[in-house]
């Protein structure tokens, strides 16, 4: 188990290194010169050259990357070109908001998705099943921004049930999390349904029935822990999807997360921030997968044994 953890950690680190390298190369090739943008309109060529030199932009790519990695190991993500502050605190300040939103979104996905999935599996072929499956399709087929705008318009602007925008209270998180969660719940419902149907056909469920257990106990105690495994593996992948989703959702709801930061940074070619956000989201994805990998053994002892 420990060896597995160590192995996965090193693997994760390598993946992050790869992500860093690719991002670095991509950004280096971007057709926009941060020095020019920084220098402003009244700058002379000399000023631009000075800035370029100070930022180290006149050095070869490899040297720049090497420096970047060196700093990275010390937790230094560099300084934002436009905001003139360290990137790490900028991201750290916004990370809790994004993580909260993601956690709420995933929680909503899981609660809605898993319960609907179970329901559909138990009523397999019936009306409820069909309804749930159709809804799940509508869910995964709906453009996120459309839902975001719609929820905002209906529940905040018109009905006034929730605040339109902002951050801080529980009421603020409902709509953004719902936007992320409702749509993603479709996948979970499908996955849980299919694995639940699978599990319900397993011999041990038959054993449980032969023991005379109640249906409720069979479903919750025997089938669910087994059926939930694929859904947990899904969370890891999901975090990647969410990282994309938050850009849209944060923009609409004014959620102060790293999605907004990323969007601004891209507009301004603020390479250190883009790098930082990319790495942080990649890390989130990697950690998500790691957590999923490590959670599965908690539920399934077979994986624990390796």
């Amino acid at each position: 188990m420990l060896a597995l953890l160590a192995k996965r950690l090193v693997q994760s680190a390598l993946i992050l290194l790869g992500v860093a390298a690719i991002t670095f190369v991509l950004l280096y090739a971007l057709p926009a010169d941060p020095a020019v943008l920084l220098a402003g309109r009244s700058a002379t060529a000399q000023t631009v050259a000075n800035i370029r030199h100070q930022l180290g932009l006149d050095q070869p790519l490899l040297v720049q990357f090497w420096h970047y990695l060196g700093n990275l190991l010390q937790g230094d993500l560099g300084r934002s070109f436009t905001q003139k502050t360290d990137v790490a605190p900028l991201i750290l300040a916004r990370l809790p908001a994004t993580l909260t939103l993601m956690a709420a979104g995933i929680a909503m996905e899981l609660v809605i998705g898993v319960s609907l999935g179970i329901l559909a599996a138990l009523r397999r072929g019936g009306l409820v099943d069909r309804l749930v499956m159709s809804l799940s399709f509508v869910g995964v087929s709906t453009p996120q921004f459309l839902v975001a705008l719609l929820l905002l318009y209906v529940f905040a602007a018109t009905l006034g049930w929730f605040p339109m925008s902002g951050y801080g209270t529980a009421a603020h998180i409902v709509l953004p999390a719902a936007t992320l969660g409702i749509l993603g719940a479709g996948w979970y419902a499908r996955i849980v349904r299919s694995s639940m149907i699978d599990v319900l056909n397993q011999d041990y469920v038959r054993t449980a029935r032969a023991k005379g257990l109640s249906r409720r106990r069979i479903v919750l105690r025997h089938a669910l822990p087994n059926a939930i495994l694929p859904a947990i593996a899904m969370i890891g992948i999901d975090i990647g999807q969410f990282m994309s989703g938050v850009v849209v959702v944060e923009a609409v709801y004014g959620w102060p997360g790293i999605g907004q930061l990323a969007w601004q940074a891209i507009q301004q070619v603020d390479i250190p921030i883009i790098m930082g956000v990319t790495l942080v989201s990649a890390a989130a994805i990697v950690i998500g997968n790691l957590v999923a990998d490590l959670t599965a053994p908690l539920i399934d002892p077979r994986i624990r044994a390796g």
Binding site: Q11, R206, A210, G212, L213, R217, R221, R302
Partner: protein, 572 residues
């Protein structure tokens, strides 16, 4: 106990615990209802073991599920008859009432102990659960432990905290039995409880069941396809075929004087250990003296087709980060044997003993160390390209004929495949050859255009054999090739293989866990255990004068299809 010929007076015999009367079950299919069970009737008396015997699809399991009220609602339904437990009809009983009976009055164990226990729950949870549900929570844990002791599991205290995957197959089945008996049910239904177990473990479990029957006073319905098990266990036998009971009788009369043709057929097909005692080779199935088609040699056993020396195969050793393997586990270690043309080497052993691995390594399909000489060429370290010509000399037949045929390829194409690979013949010639091969294995040429799923298991195995024969190999590695087949089908396939050996001079490396089949097929036998060869010699030597205790144990554990010679349950 014998059945009295007269109509049963209520007072003369104890009332049956469970009575199944005229049970009819229908399946719902797109085409309408189709009958799965028809007029099944039997009675189970207190303390009795009733065996439901029959081949796959005969309706044994459906019967048991119907009794438990566990038929899948969507597809199967009881449409007639009654199931009476202590006189109370279970058909149409509400689910809640049925639930109280399940596990309480009727316990059940299943074929696959591997999958029948919930992998994510501890043994303790699974055991106490049943006790709690039916008899309250008071001393569930103590009783669970007592049950584990009753089924003679080693170190019961520790087992309680373990998960199913940490137990061996035998232990799991013991846990299943403990669970099924934990509420002291009147009836225990055991659905092929030992089929998935090794023969030695099977012997132990059967013994345990007999012992517990006495101890708990439980009546048993034992479902099995194995006439050996029937002979060992049954008081009474009901032989099923195609959803009906064709014959019902006490066990001794049934084996000694079967009334029905089907029962006779079934019994005849069962290979009996010791049937070949006193002979050196397999029975001759062709009437003519041996004449090889290839002509060259007419004396069997001259040419060594396969020689294996000091073969070892390592598995596992999880890859570390950089793709290097860590400490490896030896699956096979230091195995040596030789196989001559026209002869069969039976490779026998229990699961995990390394038989299949040895077979695959012998054909160079997995990496190995040691020396393997196939048709005169050492194959160690040969490139796939260099291996190719050698592939013509040796072919393989697998356990599951369906899995070893590409489901998307027609049978003709599958049989022609080796010819295509080796560039033999043109399209027309190949078609002719395929037709010949199909006829050779007892199918017809027009089968060539069909697909594997349209055939029965036995036919599929014939197709696999035809494909293996396409290249006219000298050696065929048969890996548990008949294990998945019903007895009667198995007998016919074995006969086909023997006939092919006689007429074509094939050598077989015959891998099986079934001692009786090995005895029937082999000239020489190699016994494997835990990756090593423990005994190797002529069949006669191995079966009639085994040196090793393990070999003796293996032979002794085989149930005899003869109720008069019960030895397993009663011996200990």
């Amino acid at each position: 106990m014998t059945l009295t010929p007269r109509p049963t007076p209520a007072l003369a015999l104890p009332a049956p615990v469970l009575e199944v009367a005229h049970l009819t079950v229908d399946a719902r299919t797109p085409a309408g209802l189709s009958r799965v069970l028809e007029d099944v009737s039997f009675a189970l008396r207190p303390g009795e073991t009733l065996c439901l015997a029959g081949e796959s699809g005969s309706g044994k399991s459906v019967t048991s599920l119907a009794i438990m009220g566990l038929l899948p609602k969507a597809s199967l339904r009881v449409t007639g008859g009654a199931i009476r437990l202590d006189g109370r009809d279970l058909v149409g009983l509400p689910e809640r009432a049925m639930r109280r009976l399940r596990g309480g009055e009727i316990g059940m164990i299943f074929q696959e102990p591997m999958t029948s226990l919930n992998p994510v729950m501890t043994i303790r949870d699974q055991l106490t659960e049943a006790i709690r549900v039916h008899q309250g929570a008071e001393d569930a844990l103590a009783r669970a432990r007592a049950m584990l002791e009753a089924v003679h599991i080693s170190d019961p205290a520790r087992r309680l905290g373990q998960y199913p995957h940490e137990l061996s197959g035998g232990m799991r089945q013991r846990v299943m039995i403990a669970m099924a008996l934990s509420c002291r049910p009147k009836v225990l239904i055991a659905d092929e409880p030992t089929t998935a177990l090794d023969v030695t473990v099977q012997a132990q479990i059967l013994k345990l069941m007999r012992e517990l029957k006495g101890e708990f006073g439980t009546s048993i319905i034992l479902i099995t396809h194995d006439m050996g098990v029937v002979a060992e266990m049954a008081d009474r036998v009901a032989v099923m075929k195609a959803g009906r009971i064709v014959e019902q009788a006490d066990v001794v009369p049934l084996f000694t004087a079967p009334r029905e043709a089907y029962t006779r057929e079934l019994l005849a097909a069962v290979p009996r250990l010791g049937a070949r005692a006193g002979t050196d080779g397999p029975p001759r199935v062709t009437p003519l003296p041996t004449r090889f088609e290839t002509g060259g040699e007419n004396e069997a056993g001259e040419e060594t087709v396969l020689s294996v020396h000091n073969l070892s195969v390592s598995y596992g050793g999880a890859r570390n980060l950089f793709g290097r393997r860590g400490e490896a586990q030896r699956a096979v270690e230091g195995v040596s044997f030789a196989l001559k043309r026209g002869r069969t080497l039976g490779l026998v052993g229990e699961s995990g003993s390394g038989k299949s691995t040895t077979g695959k390594a012998a054909l160079g399909l997995i990496p190995f160390t040691g020396e393997v000489v196939l048709d005169g060429t050492a194959i160690a370290g040969l490139s796939p390209r260099a291996m190719r010509p050698l592939r013509r000399a040796a072919q393989m037949i697998f356990q599951d004929p369906y899995a070893s045929l590409d489901p998307r390829m027609s049978v003709g194409a599958a049989i022609a495949e080796p010819l295509v690979i080796h560039g033999i013949g043109n399209r027309a010639e190949r078609r002719e050859r395929v037709a010949a091969l199909l006829r050779r294995v007892g199918l017809t040429a027009d089968h060539a255009t069909r697909y594997p799923h349209e055939f029965s298991g036995g036919q599929r195995q014939r197709i696999c054999i035809a494909r293996a024969l396409a290249l006219e190999p000298k050696l065929i590695v048969a890996d548990e090739s008949v294990a998945a087949l019903d007895v009667s089908v198995r007998a016919r396939v074995l006969d086909l293989m023997l006939e092919l050996q006689e007429t074509m001079g094939l050598a077989y490396l015959f891998i099986s866990h079934d001692m009786a089949v090995i005895e029937k097929m082999s000239h020489e036998v190699a016994v494997m255990r835990a990756g090593r060869l423990v005994e190797y010699g002529t069949r006669r030597a191995i079966f009639e004068a085994p040196h090793e205790a393990y070999t003796r144990e293996l032979i002794a554990a085989v149930p005899m299809p003869d109720p008069t010679r019960r030895h397993l349950a009663e011996a200990g």
